[in-house]
Symmetry: C2
Subunit: 429 residues, 2 copies
């Protein structure tokens, strides 16, 4: 039986997961593929770790220089799991130049430098696989590229950042403040020491840029994604949302309007009955609406060493199938036509607005007047007395344009009766 050598660059949780699964399921994989898939060489950063018994027991040559992997003639597929932009970009370009198929979970790199990487791969006649880059082990890339290849996706909504979803779930369950839950998530290993990429929505923006590019056959860059993180949500917002029948989720949203693409990432009120509202903790889900199939949902673990390793291995085995067939799949998402991203000011949705204001006559009238002046109509409103002569005013609007909403909000924030800036969240239904 033919043997195909895999080069693994990076040996953290995910890299170890790849090594472990490949070894544990070697027989099954060989039966399904018709060839043996084996680690050929591993590159890791820390030389001390290379002498670790758990690494030595693999019986695979280990190096601290990734060049040893991409230059190894017996390595046919390079699996990159170090993350970040550098040196991931350099090593991936080197692997491609050397004629190796590349498998990666690196959404950041592909979202920022996909153009360069995909065209290098096209020129070299090799494949770039990245199922693991979005929603970990969930086969969402495969679903869009293969399962729905003959359908047209109109819109997709994803809970694609486990850390953000864990934080919102805990804030809702325990009524705890954001900062406390973040500390808890860090202690539990669900959030990084520097959580910026997750809690500011940047990771989700990378992922939706990739998904939208694939789904709509165009090229969306992370910089084009309107991005807000869970850090803007207060526990009170979750309680208020519940009173109106909503739950707050950190959604990545992409819609095809034909002439333009709408793409944004922010905390969002969604109806409690929507399946996405039941996705709790670190779990991920992507909800797709396509013309022929209608709605479909894909749900599972989006992170973690083993879940990500499953996706990487699925891709590695795909690359091996191509090697066995002497063919290669196109490296990049088919770009049918470049299309503009709709300006956020032109995006329309419903809004949730929470105001702290003086408990005195005429406040609601002034707020409603400001909204009406910007063509925004109110769907529901609740006013409640708070302490110290203060009141809380919560409004849900009908559909309105973002530009109008921001203008109205600016005016409302300047009212003397309003004691702190309005809290604004968007609604999807």
């Amino acid at each position: 039986m033919r043997r195909i050598g895999i080069g693994l660059i990076g040996f953290g949780t995910v890299g170890q997961g790849v090594a472990r699964l490949l070894s544990a399921n070697a027989e099954m994989i060989a039966a399904r593929l018709g060839a043996t898939v084996a680690l050929q060489r591993i590159a890791l950063r820390d030389p001390a770790r290379a002498r670790n018994p758990s690494v030595e027991s693999l019986g695979v040559p280990v190096t601290t220089d990734w060049r040893d992997v991409v230059d190894d003639r017996d390595v046919r597929v390079v699996c990159e799991v170090i993350g970040g932009l550098d040196p991931a970009r350099e090593l991936m370009m080197a692997a491609i130049r050397n004629g190796k198929h590349v498998v990666t979970a690196n959404k950041h790199l592909l979202a920022e430098h996909g153009d360069e990487i995909f065209s290098a791969a096209d020129n070299a006649g090799v494949e770039v696989h990245f199922e693991a880059a979005v929603a970990g082990g969930l086969p969402i890339i495969r679903t869009i590229r293969e399962g729905l290849v003959a359908d047209r996706i109109d819109a997709l909504w994803g809970i694609v950042n486990g850390t953000s979803n864990f934080i919102l779930t805990r804030m809702e369950q325990a009524g705890t403040a954001f900062a406390d839950v973040l500390r808890e998530a860090q202690a539990a290993g669900y959030a990084e020491a520097d959580p910026t990429l997750d809690i500011e929505g940047i990771d989700a923006a990378h992922k939706i840029a990739l998904l939208a590019s694939l789904a709509f056959a165009t090229r969306i860059r992370p910089g084009q994604v309107f991005t807000r993180g869970v850090s803007i949500v207060e526990a009170a917002d979750l309680a208020w949302a519940a009173r109106f029948g909503f739950r707050v989720k950190h959604l990545a949203i992409a819609k095809d309007h034909g002439d333009a693409i709408e793409v944004r990432v922010h905390p969002t009120l969604i109806p409690r009955e929507w399946l996405l509202a039941s996705v709790s903790g670190v779990l991920n889900a992507v909800y797709i609406r396509s013309r022929a199939l209608g709605p479909s949902l894909y749900y599972g673990h989006g992170a973690g060493g083993d879940a990500t390793a499953v996706a990487l291995l699925g891709d590695i085995i795909d690359a091996c199938r191509s090697l066995l067939a002497f063919r290669h799949a196109p490296a990049r998402p088919t770009e049918v036509a470049p299309r503009p991203v709709r300006e956020m000011g032109d995006v329309e949705c419903r809004y949730y607005l929470r105001l702290a204001c003086s408990d005195q006559p005429g406040v609601l009238a002034r707020v409603a007047g400001a909204l009406a002046a910007h063509d925004i109509s109110i769907a529901e409103v609740v006013q409640e007395r708070a302490a110290d002569g203060q009141a809380t005013l919560v409004l849900l609007t009908h559909r309105a344009r973002e530009r109008n909403m921001q203008a109205a909000r600016g005016e409302i924030d300047r009212f003397d009766v309003v004691s702190q800036p309005a809290r604004l969240l968007r609604i999807e239904e």
Copy 2:
């Protein structure tokens, strides 16, 4: 650009969906595949229909003899959508002998005659694709074969029959009797005039036989699947289930016990919080538990012309990719090792038992005694007075063995204080 000819056999709702999507998305498909995919010849049963303007407008030669399609040299992929065993089996074997890849939604045929069809395809060096056979447009076959290729699936639970799920959803929402809802479903087009395959669980048994064969790399035949339909459920059971925090769903269940496979289809009580419990109406969902990825769920429309056509076209395009690469994927699920199916008597689960009995002292003691004598312990019990000196007794058991439960139930049914046979449903958590 190269052109690949498709032969379509059958032109009902699904066949028309294939023709419509292929034409509407021709440009997008060509861009993604790098070749043109076009209908070459259509076979349909009714000669009158062949002269219908909607068929003539396709500009594709139409025949009433499927042999014209499988013998056409320019047909490279045959898509069979007539369903049933005959002549589907004969035409598929003929297409395979003629060296054509075959794409089908026919779970019945594959579940019964998969062995013959897959080995003929292996010998002829052609592929058999059947994504559309289970859960329509949901890419569940692809997920098991490709996405989870390096993982081990321990168990899967599916809502795979839209008719049954529609009936249970309506019975629950409206408190209506089974027979009334069935008539409603037939009027709405969600149930066939002869609904036996759906409401007796036979369609679900075909599907779980295919899924379990793939997931566990073995061969499960429909005859090995313990099968009960939604027809055994009464509205009262749904209400009782709700009181205990459960919902009743018609589940197809498969579990890998290592030495044996457990595979069964029946109405099942499941906890209301489980995502599967939120799958309503004609929608389908499959919940997979695998070792590395953990839980994952796939949800969407399992039937309907367009949803099924999306899956067929995904498969057709896969077959075209193989034609372009001069290679072929293995036709059959890899059978790593044949394994026995666990006898239903040896299966263990929790049970729901509803009894109509005389409202007199000692009834509960006798029932509890019969259960205890068969090693079945009671988890929850509610007794309620009904009319005419009768009482309703509902029990939930802890895990017990099916053989013991059936023996205990037989004894209880013979009690003089029990006025009608016990209603028994199984629980999954």
